[in-house]
Amino acid sequence: MSEVSTELALLVDVGSAWAKAGVIGRVRGRWRLVTHVAQPTAWGAAELRRGLIDRLVAAGDPRLANEWDALLDGATRIECHTARNPGRLAVVAVSREVSGSSARRAAEAAGWQVIEAVTLDDGRTLADRLARLQSAEVDAWLVAGGFDDARSPRALEAAALVASARLPESGPVIWAGSAQLGDDVAGLFEDGAVSTVANPRPDARREETGPLRDHLQAVLRAIVADEDERHLASVAFPRAIATMASDGGLRILGIDVGARGAVHALAEPDGTSAVRVYSTGGLAGAADVPGAAARVTRIAGDAGDEAAVADTLQTLRARPTTVPQLPEELSATQAAVRMLIAGMVEDGPPEAVDLVVGAGRTIAAAPHPGAAARMLLDGVRPIGVTQLAVDAGSVLGPLGSLPDEEIREGITLLADDLVVPRGTSVVCRGGSAGQLAMRVTVHRPGWPSHAPVEVRVGQLQVVPLAAGQEAELLIEPGPGITLGASRRSPRIQARATGGAVGIMLDGRGVPIALPRRGDDRRAVLAAWHDALSRDLDRVT
């Protein structure tokens, strides 16, 4: 028996398609991520362990070569996993564009899988609507419609449809319609079946989906109560993001795009966070996004024709554990992630976010750092000056599953390996094609000053800045250009931190405008791709 010993912890994130495991240990007095492996979940725990040990034997202390098995046995295991059974929901509403749209978005953002959506203006016959609802196998029913200042008979009709299609005692009913109809709707169902929540469309001009989303999250938790909530990745990842935000006094956006679901967590410096969980928002769901193949083809530029992209998207759904072998399939996959992220931030790009953290295999294990940065940059469009990083070791989920009193300690101890920086983005909007978007002077302490970099609207330029380095930015926006916050001075000073990509000066606007002509579009996309791929040898 060797006399050498070490303290270890095993971080495991079991996803619906891929399982990730990392070993952290004390290295020269500090906790570091020693090694990390990822494999299809279906390969099993024994194979995951074998993969870890192979890596540890190859890269770890040679004196421990025969000890790793025993050391892993004694290691603290910290694990999170994807929800095994996503809640299934039927949404019934008066109008597709108003109440139906709000209800569905709130439901999807709360982590529900919408199995059936029926509205009274969906063009179907009453008989067809009834038949669809009678055949739906769901865990809960969401009914919405009518404004709060009126007793809409149509809203009551929507509730009556559910009452007619649902077996008694077969799942809760959530009423999210006119406040005046709450008692009437409750009277349509058995006692205790209906819970009432604030109308997400109280009048024609307002949309307030927050209370409904929170309520739906609570109902979902009650339904999947057999799973320990803290260990669910959709809960653990946002907890880790929120802890990082409060520790660092930062506003952090965490985006996790998995094989099946996706999580959007916006955490404030005070530790509060707004979380949206999209149970079908992961890569497998990309094929179901309306017009997905055409959109992905358009924004990828080099993923092949629309038919080939459609097959790739279906492959992501049908074979979620496989990996792209061809460059065009990788391009389509990454473009699909950009599309999915853009769908998650459809309320508008977040402003004044200090850090965007990307997670999920496609982002965190992207073969090229520039590609990971681009998925976050193009998907989120974070206006202003923002650091970009990835959860390359898949450690945030497991750390977020720690008890309240330990999570901060875990995040702090692993600070050096928590996320891997990709660099800092400067995103502006406004202006017209070709005009000056911004003039940026990059000053690195101890380095000679360079001439300002001029970025035109539609351009993306990268200034190398390696990980661990910092630079002062002096940004002069062009006429009509904004970086989000209102400003009194014509110049903005900001600090940039480096990463594998560097400083990304992005004048492409929000949302990104692409040329209509195919050849022009492909040329522009290729230029952006090149900008993010260039100079890596020099800075990494």
Binding site: A127, S164, A310, R317, A318, A365
Partner: protein, 344 residues
């Protein structure tokens, strides 16, 4: 061997079978009366009450199925409103004092589309034990059908061509190879083919075909359903050689195909060739991603170090000799072991 099949029952269905019954694919397991449209029945005016007052006199709740003559409301003093015909009570309009009801159409059968023995009956489902084998695909289209299995191509990598589908395929389940074009699908439908089991289909062609089916149904031109099950992947993807041989060995057997859920039951069949996600050296393997999707081979060895694919994705990889003579390094995640899994 046997597998369980679940038949979902719509709300309001009347079950006609009991546990222990033997059922055939075309047997009626339950009946239902679908609603056929909405109509208003005046309540308040007939009871000579205000709309609000009449609401308290309703005798039914939404969801109640009524026969013609059943009471919808009464005032306790001889005035009552009866259902004009068999209908489903949907709700009451407090503004105009009328009831919204959906007349029930003629009785429709609920078929199981499988042969087997009923093992459980609940208000929402009937479970049937099927004596046969189940093959699960990765995608599909169309409702449930059944028919005799028939090989429509000679090799697993062959395309199912329109020219190869004639009137003798009517009512059959055709087993194709690496692709069924939109033209072949259209031809199959025209010839009355019941179902198609195929290795791969171009998603765009499948969607175009589904759209055409939908349009035909809307104008009342579609008769019968063509169910399609894709067993390997999207694009031009052959059926694994072992699975193809298994289908060939069961040609002539009756099969049930569920397009939407991508399931194929083959009756009185032995188990299909096993698949395993983690292949070992010596295993027969099937590649799952382009450019080798649907091609079989032998896994020669697992590489010691992770390897980058042509796209740059680094992963554990294996050296595979494919049956077309090529040898390539393939990510282990993109391989399935198939056939005899004792190797390695």
């Amino acid at each position: 061997m046997s597998v369980l099949h679940r038949v979902r029952l719509p709300v309001g269905a009347t079950v006609l079978v009991e546990v222990g019954h033997s059922v055939e694919p075309a047997e009626v397991l339950a009946t239902r009366r679908p609603a056929s449209g909405g109509m208003s029945v005046p309540i308040a005016s007939r009871l000579r009450r205000s709309a609000a007052d009449a609401a308290d006199l309703l005798a039914v709740r939404p969801g109640t199925a009524l026969e013609a003559g059943d009471r919808i409301a009464d005032d306790g003093h001889g005035r009552e409103v009866l259902a004009p015909q068999a209908c489903l009570f949907l709700g009451y309009d407090l503004d105009d004092g009328s009831a919204l009801v959906a007349p029930l159409g003629p009785t429709e059968p609920v078929l199981g589309h499988v042969r087997g023995e009923v093992t459980s009956v609940t208000p929402d489902a009937i479970e049937i034990r099927v004596a046969g084998a189940l093959v699960t695909g990765v995608g599909g289209s169309g409702k449930a059908v059944h028919g005799e299995l028939r090989m429509a191509v000679h090799e697993p990598g062959d395309e199912l061509r329109a020219g190869g589908i004639d009137v003798s395929a009517t009512g059959r389940i055709l087993v194709g190879g690496s692709r069924a074009s939109a033209e072949a699908l259209t031809r199959a439908r025209a010839m009355g083919v019941a179902g198609i089991v195929v290795g791969g289909v171009l998603d765009k062609e499948l969607r175009d075909f589904e759209a055409a089916q939908r349009r035909r149904r809307e104008v009342g031109g579609a008769r019968g359903d063509l169910a399609i099950v894709i067993v390997e992947g999207f694009g031009k993807v052959g059926i694994g050689a072992e699975l193809f041989a298994w289908f060939r060995s069961h040609e002539g057997r009756v099969a049930s195909v569920f397009g939407e859920t991508a399931r194929v039951y083959v009756y009185e069949a032995d188990a299909p060739p096993p698949r395993r996600v983690l292949a070992r050296p010596g295993n027969r393997v099937l590649a799952l991603r382009r450019p080798f999707a649907g091609i079989g081979g032998e896994l020669l060895r697992v590489l010691d170090q992770p390897h980058a694919t042509g796209a740059g994705v680094v992963s554990r990889s294996a050296l595979v000799r494919f049956e077309d003579g090529r040898t390539a390094v393939i990510p282990l995640a993109n391989l399935e072991a198939t056939g005899d899994l004792s190797g390695g």
